[in-house]
Amino acid sequence: MNVLIVEDERQLSHEIEIFLTKQGYHCDVAFNGKSASEKIFINSYDFVLMDIGLPDSNGLQLLKEAKEGGKDAAFIMLTARGTIDDKISGLDLGADDYLAKPFSLLELQARMQAILRRKHGLKNNTIQISDFLMDIQNRTVNHGSNQINLTKKEFDILHYMALHKNRVITRVQLTEHIWGDVLEDDYESNYIDVHMKNLRKKLSQYGNSDFIETVRGIGYRLNMS
């Protein structure tokens, strides 16, 4: 998987590169519009992470050019300006997704995965977690022939944890994934714990749910071989 990171803030682009490289992506970076434009047209990328506010050009303009040039890379627009117009025009111009800075790298990875699933229509869209089988396409979780009745949020939590298996996910990361950009007045809410409790209760009615581990003071981890 080839990714082009277009971001003029070098430290930020470096952090994204470190993370994605570790996940097995091959990363290329561009710090301005000119070099980004060249790279997009010379190379073939699966993903372009495009900062909208570039010093020498606008990310939306580059996106437009690339789409007109027939490039089929998936574009994820990144912005810190927080204007709504950016989001709307980005998606209108054919961007695949949009992330407002600051975003979680785990969220970025989840979005990239979702785009891949959508684009390539993956056939084997299931995840085996212990005795449970998760069907991403149909949003179901089965234990043998029994379907477990999960709410939307419970399913999303389990899916996000499975996506980042064997890694501690903090409450902040989970909260942001589930509630997104909802302007929440509470910053130390532990509402995620309520869902986690219910999720465990539902799973343990059918099998062992010990694979969900509570990491004290931090968050949760889904342990999977």
Binding site: G82, I84, K101, P102, K153, V182, D186, Y187, E188, I218
Partner: protein
Amino acid sequence: MKLQLKFALYNALSKAIIILAFGLALPVVIEQVVYNHVDDRLNARLDKMTLMIERGGVNEIALDQDCSFSSYNIFKEEYVAISPLSRMPDDFGKIHINNSERNIENEILKHRVLSQAFIYDNQLYNLEIGEGISSLDHLTDTIREFTLRMMLIIILIFIFLDFGFVQILLRPFRKITSQKLRNIRHPENFVPMPIQTSTTEFIELNQEINEMMKKIQLAFRSEREFITNVSHELLTPVSILRNRIENLMNESGIPNEVLSQLAESQKTLSRLTRVVRAFLYISKIENDQYLKNESVNLHELTIDVISEVEERLEEKQIKLEKNFSGDADFYPCNKSLIHTLIFNIIANAIKYSLPDSKISVTGVESNSSYKISIADEGVGIEEQNIPHIFDRFRRFRPDDTMSFGLGLPIVKTIAEFHGISIEVIGGKARLKGTEFIIGFPKSQ
């Protein structure tokens, strides 16, 4: 009071004063003129009488036994009288003219009387020549009445004309206030236009307002730019830190204590991000950067919001009772903003609710608005704090460290953007808890 009315009143009052003064002075003047005429006539008759006496003597005028004479014409309007005087007056020879009332044949008549003493044949006489002036009083009254009536009619006509004229005169002023100032909800919508008038003051006023609005527009634009820049400058470093922490946590072999501290730092950054975003959100609404062209069903929206707060209700074992009736469509609006508004009020109600209590969400349609009431049975709010609950960073419980106090300010900003009213009932007005009543105006 309207300027137009003030002008009309001032004009009427000033004219009334002038007319009143005129009306008071007029009878005096008329009287004076008439008396002058009468006096002239009396003097002429005196000359005639003197001539008659000199020629023919007093005896010629047929004195009666008392040595006096009096003669009235048929209407008793004029008379001449000669009567002997017993005593010599101090100012002998001087002519006196007075008004006096005479009882003539049981009729009291007012006369202007000229009197002069004279000596004839060693006898002292007093000569009186009188002319009736009762009819003059009548004339004066008639003129006065007529004048006052005329003046009154003139005043009324002028008030009417003034009112109309001032209305025409003030038309450009009204145009300035209604079209330029009142209808402009946001400075960005203001278009500087010349105004059609020949009144210099209004042209100047219009120019001044145009200038002022241009300055305000500039200020708004630079504020908008400032907000964009600040958010960029603040959120970019936060973004770097945020991702660096995530990468650090991703390293293998990090002890749990360090992980825990990194998670705490992540929480702090998340808090910073939320405060900055909340501020951005508020200023974006205030800066008119949201469109307002959607329609929303408030009942369906409330159902969505309730499903989003299910874990909070569950955590505190709160029972939420929802009861909606009537047509709950609201237009025009920004759906996502209305969602945030209702979300924040319900989230606020849950936050201050006691465990195992109840929250009622009721939607009722009225003539002019759709009203949603959100009432909790929580700790309530002190009466004196109610006016301040929408202030930024205000928290009314010392142990409330869970929030940063921007939830309700956001509500207020969204409400103002849409012309939504919010009433807060708390304190002694309720047995327990707080009630928020949101009034969504019906579009015309």
